[in-house]
């Protein structure tokens, strides 16, 4: 793990959710390691180091927290592109969404998501859920090896 590469890419269009999520991660000293993409297109540009992110430091995040309902390119499309990209296909991805729709669950798992978490409405539950996700994926989980080619 390289210290200058953000551990978590949060793809989330709603600024309230971004604020609450970061608030939750802050409480575990993980906030400085979060990069936010405001839609699917931005998320893919970040991962591929394209567009606005063409000059970013090389390296992949420990985990991508992916909202489903986003403008331009939704979460499921992003997941499909990641899994279809040889350079990204081993990237850990967790869906973090308000949707309990069965169809969303099925599609996500079919596309090879690593976890699916419904955002709890209750704030303390939300804090707990995000905290555990951050700790697990950024600190506990072992990343896939770099240089996937």
């Amino acid at each position: 793990m390289k210290a200058d590469v953000p551990a978590i890419l949060l793809a989330e269009d709603n600024p309230n959710d971004v604020e609450l999520t970061i608030e939750a991660l802050e409480r575990h000293r993980l906030a400085n390691r979060v990069t936010v993409a405001h839609d699917g297109v931005e998320a893919m540009e970040y991962l591929r180091r394209e567009g606005a992110f063409s000059n970013r430091e090389p390296g992949d995040p420990a985990v991508v927290l992916l909202d489903i309902k986003m403008p331009r390119k939704d979460g499921l499309e992003v997941l499909r592109e990641i899994r279809g990209d040889p350079a990204l296909r081993r990237q850990p991805v967790v869906i973090l969404t308000s949707s309990r729709e069965e169809q969303d669950l099925i599609t996500s798992y079919d596309l090879g998501v690593n976890a699916y978490v419904v955002k709890p409405v209750d704030f303390s539950s939300f804090i707990d859920a995000v905290k555990e996700l951050g700790v697990f994926w950024a600190l506990i989980n072992e990343r896939p090896p770099n240089g996937v080619e």
């Binding site: 609450l20 309902k69 308000s98 309990r100 709890p120 409405v121 704030f123 939300f126």
Partner: protein, 945 residues
């Protein structure tokens, strides 16, 4: 003295011997004469018998009558010629001639015989035909100088009565049989002969050839008053043995005899020298011996006797030798039998005829050789005639040959009672008997032929109505016959009225048949059989002279067949006339030969109105209807059978056509049936139109269903999109409210007073409740839309799945669970889990205050076991039944949410699920006394999905 004594003794001895020899000669002559006379009588009797057979033969009579009347002359003539030829051959006649009573020759055998009768025979024919009695002629010479004797048989007309219509003259040659019979001499003799003589005027006529003078038959005649001529003595009436001079002037000893039934006399004679020769020789020898005795005076009497004896026996031996030689030469069987009936002497003819040697026969009882079937008759004749000394003539019986076959013999036997002997002569008549049998057999064959014909035949004597003969088939057919016509009427026509009618009809027909002489069909008669049944016969009658031949032709089967045919035709006619079709036949020119049937009314026609009309004209003469009809009828006329539709005017007929054939299978016309199918065709058309309409409606309906389904699908899609928005977008602001109010409370920290903290908590709780509400609403929406996954479901397992999280949640509470076994059901497993989770969750929730809480789950069958009912019962707060109907409404609650949390959607969801599965939900309860929630599910077959 000795010489005198010797001479006297010698004379005495000679005298005795001479007498003995004379007596022996007398007896022999007498016996010969009697035998010959009987044999002649017998021969004549046979010839008259021949003639009598012809006289009595109805076939001859019929044929002769036909011939004379000019009917069937060729056939009659051929028949008669065959008969005359056969007769001549069989009985060895020289000539057999059939003549008219006037002596005109009709037929003769052989063909070479003279075509004219001589005067004498013509007279005899006239006498025979006039009297109807068989006549015989004298022995006479025919035109060629040959000796003949004729027998004339009158041929009576078939009706009988004199005068006869014809005569048959049988001309025999006496030289071939009669004369040899007369001349043969049964004992050995140098001079023995028999003469047959007859008185003609004052003359004695010698009838047969003489032994010592040839060519005398019927030529030599001497005066009847010649004193010493034995023949003359015989015609003058002398009988017995006489001495005289014969035609040669030689002294003879003769036995005189009349032949009974004839003008003939028989003379059996032998020269006196031959008879008395031994006596003279003896006299000479006796004298010589006496002289020698006297002269020598020393020759002993004994020696004399010895010489004498040997000499006498030598003479006798010689005489016997001659007798024996003749005895052996004759073809007749000659026998001498003793009183016990044993053979004592037989000639060699016996051995030739019977095959036994003389030694085998002698001493044997002759009855042993008599054919067993003739033994009784023979014994009768022995007892009644021979034992009493009566002569037996023309007795016929059979003797067995050594090889087992038999011989017919004709006996003439002369018993000599006093001496205990019987002299007998027999002739082999086997051939003659065989000829008789042939004749009898031919009659039997005729009978057999009649019996073999299947037509019963009766022969009736028309004079007395006696039925002489019924053929066997009569008995077979009728089961009974009758001996007279009257009795036959009784049994054959038991109904008196019918019998009278039959007789009334029958009599004039018989007269007609008799007049015509032809076979006549007298019509049909119903004849009663023995078994009670009835035969219908045609009776043919023919007269043969006085004989009526009735032939029965059984036509019962034919009559019955005719009746059946008539009945069957009546039935067919009825059917043809009454069926509601048109029925017709056409000839080969396609013209109507029949048109009938009730269906004709449809065409406005009556039966057979169009006979003779051409079918094309019937169909309008021209145009497509006529062309079609003619073409189809031509097809049928070519041999095809088929059905087609024929329009006639405005009507349409279903027509079936077929060919008509004659007995030889040749095509001679067409037969057809037509049925008016117009109404049916119209109905068919209407039905087809209706079907088209229904099909169109169905198609429209289907399209409408498709349209509606598409609309429904679209609505569902919209609803889904809405639900998605709700779940996602509605929840986000809630989360933000919750999050930021919590962050606000944190920032304010200890500076937050009690009241402010309460506000924040309330915001937080409200947000949570709304989240639950949104989740429940989404779930409720999904249960209404989600596709059912119907399968067999293990309710025990589903219940366990729903119960497990509840038990975890309520681990601190005191709850008694009573879970009964549940049946398998057919349903959607996920939805049923929701049902149980809801009901059990409610039970847990509303028993919160109870310690212990009691929750029971069970199931039972109901509704004739076609559904299962499940229930959850608790001892919780219960409810007021007054509001029971509100339990299952959305957002309906019976309790304060501060008391029992909840959205009021759970039971609505349960009801929606159970209804979708075809069941029903209901609840019973009482405030503070618990509640029971029940639902039913129909039992149904698991449908594979």
């Amino acid at each position: 003295m000795l010489a005198v004594l010797i001479a006297a003794a010698g004379y005495f001895i000679w005298r005795q011997q001479a007498q003995s020899i004379e007596q022996q000669a007398d007896r022999t002559l007498t016996a010969v004469g009697q035998l010959k006379a009987k044999q002649i009588t017998s021969w004549l009797g046979e010839r008259r018998g021949d003639a009598a057979i012809l006289r009595a033969d109805p076939l001859v009579a019929t044929a002769a009558a036909d011939l004379l009347a000019g009917r069937r002359t060729a056939a009659a003539s051929a028949d008669l010629q065959t008969l005359l030829d056969a007769f001549r051959r069989t009985y060895s006649y020289v000539v057999v001639v059939m003549t008219t009573p006037g002596g005109r020759v009709l037929l003769r055998a052989p063909q070479a015989a003279p075509a004219l009768l001589d005067e004498q025979t013509t007279a005899l024919v006239a006498k025979a035909t006039a009297t109807g009695v068989v006549q015989s002629s004298d022995l006479h010479l025919d035109g060629a100088g040959r000796t003949r004797i004729d027998f004339v048989a009158p041929i009576l007309s078939p009706q009988g009565g004199v005068p006869a219509i014809a005569a048959v003259t049988l001309s025999a040659d006496p030289g071939s049989f009669l004369f040899p019979l007369v001349q043969t001499w049964p004992s050995p003799s140098r001079s023995g002969e028999t003469l047959l003589v007859e008185r003609r005027g004052g003359q004695v006529l010698y009838l047969n050839d003489l032994r010592f003078r040839k060519g005398t038959a019927l030529k030599l005649a001497v005066p009847a008053n010649a004193a010493n001529l034995p023949a003359a003595m015989a015609v003058r009436g002398r009988r017995g043995v006489v001495q005289g001079l014969d035609y040669r002037g030689v002294p003879v000893l003769a036995a005189l005899q009349h032949v009974p039934g004839t003008p003939w006399y028989l003379v059996a004679k032998e020269d006196t020298n031959d008879v008395l020769g031994p006596i003279r020789t003896q006299a000479w020898m006796t004298a010589a011996v006496a002289l020698v005795l006297v002269a020598l005076a020393g020759v002993g009497t004994l020696l004399f006797w010895r010489v004498r004896e040997s000499q006498v026996s030598a003479e006798i031996r010689e005489s016997e030798e001659k007798f024996r030689r003749f005895f052996e030469l004759t073809a007749d069987l000659v026998v001498i039998a003793d009183i016990e009936g044993n053979f004592r002497e037989v000639n060699s003819a016996w051995a030739k005829t019977l095959g036994y040697s003389k030694e085998e026969l002698l001493g044997r009882p002759y009855l042993e050789l008599v054919h067993p079937e003739d033994k009784e008759r023979t014994e009768q004749v022995i007892a009644e005639k021979l034992k009493r000394g009566d002569t037996v003539l023309s007795f016929e019986n059979r003797y067995l040959r050594k090889d087992g076959s038999s011989v017919w013999l004709d006996w003439t036997s002369q018993p000599q009672v006093a001496e205990g002997y019987t002299f007998a002569i027999a002739r082999d008549i086997t051939e003659r008997r065989r000829a008789d049998e042939v004749l009898r057999d031919s009659e039997a064959a005729l009978r057999a032929i009649l019996d073999a014909t299947p037509f019963p035949i009766a022969l009736v004597d028309a004079r007395d109505d006696v039925i002489d003969y019924w053929s066997r088939s009569a008995l077979t057919l009728f089961g009974h016959t009758a001996p007279t016509a009257a009795e036959w009427y009784e049994i054959a026509y038991p109904d008196p009225e019918y019998r009278q009618a039959v007789i009334h009809r029958w009599k004039p027909l018989l007269d007609k048949a008799r007049r015509s002489g032809q076979a006549l069909n007298t019509g049909e008669y119903r004849i009663a059989c023995r078994d009670g049944s009835e035969r219908i016969c045609e009776l043919y009658v023919t007269f043969l002279a006085d004989r009526l031949v009735v032939t029965f032709n059984d036509i019962t089967a034919r009559k019955h067949a005719e009746e059946e045919l008539r009945d069957s035709e009546e039935r067919l006619r009825f059917l043809i006339d009454q069926t509601p079709t048109v029925n017709w036949t056409l000839d080969a020119d396609l013209r109507f030969t029949l048109s009938r049937g009730a269906g004709l009314q449809t065409l406005g026609l009556g039966p057979d109105k169009v006979l003779g009309m051409y079918v094309g004209d019937f169909l309008g003469g021209s145009g497509p209807q006529a062309e079609l009809g003619v073409a189809m009828h031509r097809r049928a006329l070519a041999g095809e059978s088929f059905a087609y539709e024929q329009p006639i005017g405005d009507l349409v007929f279903d027509i079936i056509l077929g060919p008509l054939r004659d007995a030889d299978d040749a095509l001679i016309g067409v037969i057809g049936v037509a049925y008016d199918a117009t109404a049916r065709k119209q109905a068919d058309e209407a039905r087809r139109a209706a079907e088209r309409k229904v099909t169109k409606l169905n198609a429209e309906l289907e399209q409408r269903v498709l349209d509606r389904t598409a609309q429904l699908d679209a609505a569902n899609k919209e609803l889904e999109a809405f639900a998605y928005s709700v779940s996602h977008d509605l929840r986000a602001p809630l989360r933000h409210i919750s999050g930021f109010s919590a962050l606000l409370a944190e920032r304010l920290g200890d500076s937050l007073d009690e009241r402010s903290r309460h506000y924040v908590d309330t915001i937080s709780r409200s947000v949570r409740d709304m989240g639950v509400l949104i989740d429940d609403l989404l779930l409720f929406s999904r249960t209404g839309r989600a596709e059912l996954r119907i399968a067999s479901v293990d309710m025990d397992e589903v219940l366990r799945e729903a119960l497990e999280p509840l038990k975890l949640e309520t681990s601190e509470r005191e709850i008694e669970w009573a879970i009964g076994p549940l049946p398998r059901v057919v349903g959607d497993q996920a939805l049923l889990r929701q049902v149980w989770a809801n009901l059990l969750g409610n039970a847990v929730k509303y028993t919160r205050g109870r310690a212990p809480a009691y929750i029971e789950v069970g199931a039972r069958h109901a509704g004739g076991a076609d559904k299962d009912i499940f229930w959850v019962r608790d001892n919780g707060v219960g409810f007021d039944m007054q509001y029971a109907h509100k339990l299952f409404g959305v957002f309906q609650r019976l309790h304060d949410s501060s008391e029992f949390e909840g959205t009021g959607i759970g039971l609505a969801n349960v009801q929606r699920i159970i209804n979708r599965l075809g069941g029903r939900v209901w609840a019973e309860g009482e405030v503070d006394h618990g509640a029971t929630f029940s639902f039913s599910l129909p039992r149904r077959k698991e449908t594979p999905s």
